[in-house]
């Protein structure tokens, strides 16, 4: 590469002066390099580098896998969770979750404290955002009116994160065909609030 030829020409002490800019694959500009008296194998940097890189990547993979080890689920929350979520596909047609809408509003009343606190924080943020922004008020108004459902939308976001199919999280059109093979998991996605999704789609399309 010519960039490195430039580097080598300026640093090598015995640079061949008539080969300053040669378009060549030969790197004799580096000057004499003595290969005598090497203690280790001559490709030791190459081997060491690649082995180190492989070890690092594998180590990173194991750390991430350890991070994902889910512990024993809390028994007291088991039933509440069961009532809270229904097994619907996030990418299914939006008409399906309509029948679960009624149950969902009941379930939201039994939210766990952590989720509730999170929703409260989000509501606070939305209120502040609503006061400070004059932009598209449709979103903030909608969320201001439907606090529990916004938490449901966040659950949907979290769920998409677990699939780690993150670019597909933001659904771009209502009738896009998102097949099952695109999901990293095919099992249990979260209930989808159809109205919220439609609103989010409209917002995205605007």
């Amino acid at each position: 590469m010519s960039a490195l030829r430039l580097i080598s020409n300026r640093t090598s002490q015995q640079a061949l002066s008539n080969s300053d800019y040669t378009w060549d694959y030969e790197y004799y500009e580096y000057g004499p390099v003595s290969f005598e008296g090497l203690k280790a194998h001559k490709y030791s940097i190459v081997i060491g580098f690649w082995v180190g890189l492989a070890v690092f990547v594998i180590f990173m993979f194991f750390v991430l896998t350890l991070l994902t080890k889910t512990g024993v689920p809390h028994q007291d929350n088991a039933e509440a969770s069961e009532k809270r979520f229904r097994m619907n596909s996030f990418v299914a047609d939006f008409g399906r979750p309509l029948e679960s809408k009624r149950d969902f509003s009941h379930q939201m009343a039994e939210e766990s404290p952590s989720l509730f606190h999170f929703c409260i924080n989000e509501v606070d943020h939305i209120n502040k955002a609503k006061e400070s922004q004059k932009g598209p008020s449709l979103e903030s108004n909608t969320h201001f009116q439907e606090v529990p459902r916004s938490c449901g939308m966040f659950e949907e976001d979290l769920h998409c994160l677990t699939k780690f199919n993150i670019p597909n999280f933001v659904n771009t059109e209502q009738n896009s065909s998102l097949g099952e093979e695109d999901l990293l998991i095919s099992e249990p996605p979260i209930i989808l609030e159809s109205k919220l999704v439609m609103q989010s789609s409209h917002r995205i399309l605007d």
Binding site: Y21, D24, Y43, L64, T68, K69, T70, I126, S186
Partner: protein, 293 residues
């Protein structure tokens, strides 16, 4: 003495040469793939979103890297055939321009990956306000700033590539960005874990382990591919600056063309792990190909 040193140098740790056909094939594949992505995003109005603009930015920087390699090979062939002189002023300027194109490609890749990670981070953690935070105009402004910075830095680095002052920041920037991107993704990952725990409490959930393992695999692939493709070249730059006469360093630098090929492979793999995961983009491709028949 020079000749004997010649032979000493050329018999040990000779340059590992990658055949030109392999170079051209890999480079052409990279350029075509990324060009397809650009065309698809431009043609489909549904893809005019910040997320896809960042993916396009990554595609452009990958294309620049492959284009650089292709042009360099073409110029070397022209030189061998005698159409271009080897020591002319025009060739020197062309050389500088192409060096800066290559470094622009590297910096563009790093910053595009950072932008994609930040965009996903905002999508997850500020989901409700995402559309206010990341508007289309802001995304374009961010991309303009990134590319201006990368262009300026690449020209500066190419002109002053022999100074340690440019090599060191360049090589520090690389792991720093990787570390930052890793932190963003790990934080998102931890959130996924807490969410998966909630799902795990459901009676019918049986595959959450598989899900989380897949998440770990995906993240490892994201970062592992980038590291494996670019780190060899960055190490080469470091060694060329600081120990060009050391025999160990010289042996590492003899595999330089393999490193260059790895960078072009990155241009081919990146669209697969970023762009082609989007079903919208895939359906756009299908429409493009079926309509053209």
């Amino acid at each position: 003495e020079n000749i004997s040193n010649f032979s000493l140098n050329t018999t040990d740790c000779t340059q590992v040469v990658v055949p030109e056909e392999v170079f051209f094939t890999v480079a052409a594949a990279g350029i075509l793939e990324n060009l397809l992505i650009l065309i698809a995003v431009v043609r489909n109005k549904n893809l005019h979103l910040p997320m896809y603009f960042f993916i396009c930015s990554l595609a452009i920087s990958d294309m620049l890297g492959s284009l650089y390699k292709t042009l360099e090979n073409i110029f070397i062939i022209l030189c061998k055939m005698g159409y271009l002189t080897r020591h002319g002023d025009f060739e020197k300027k062309l050389d500088d321009a192409m060096d800066s194109m290559f470094i622009l490609s590297l910096l563009g890749s790093i910053f595009s990956l950072l932008a994609i990670a930040a965009d996903r981070y905002i999508t997850i953690f500020y989901a409700l306000r995402y559309h206010n935070i990341m508007t289309l105009r802001r995304a374009l402004v961010i991309l303009a700033i990134i590319w201006t910075f990368c262009a300026g830095s690449s020209i500066a680095i190419a002109l002053f590539s022999y100074e340690a002052a440019t090599v060191i920041p360049f090589t520090i920037l690389f792991p720093l960005m990787m570390f930052f991107i890793l932190c963003l993704y790990v934080h998102m990952f931890l959130l996924a874990r807490s969410h998966a725990k909630k799902i795990a409490s459901l009676p019918t959930s049986t595959v959450h382990h598989r899900t989380n393992t897949k998440g770990a695999i995906t993240l490892t692939i994201f970062l592992g591919v980038f590291l494996c493709c670019w780190a060899p070249f960055v190490l080469h730059i470091l060694l060329a600056r600081f120990c060009p006469h050391n025999p160990y360093c010289a042996c590492y630098m003899s595999i330089f063309h393999v490193n260059g090929t790895l960078i072009m492979c990155n241009a081919i793999i990146n669209p697969m792990i970023f762009a082609f995961r989007s079903p919208e983009l895939r359906s756009t491709f299908k429409k493009m190909f079926y309509c053209s028949r």
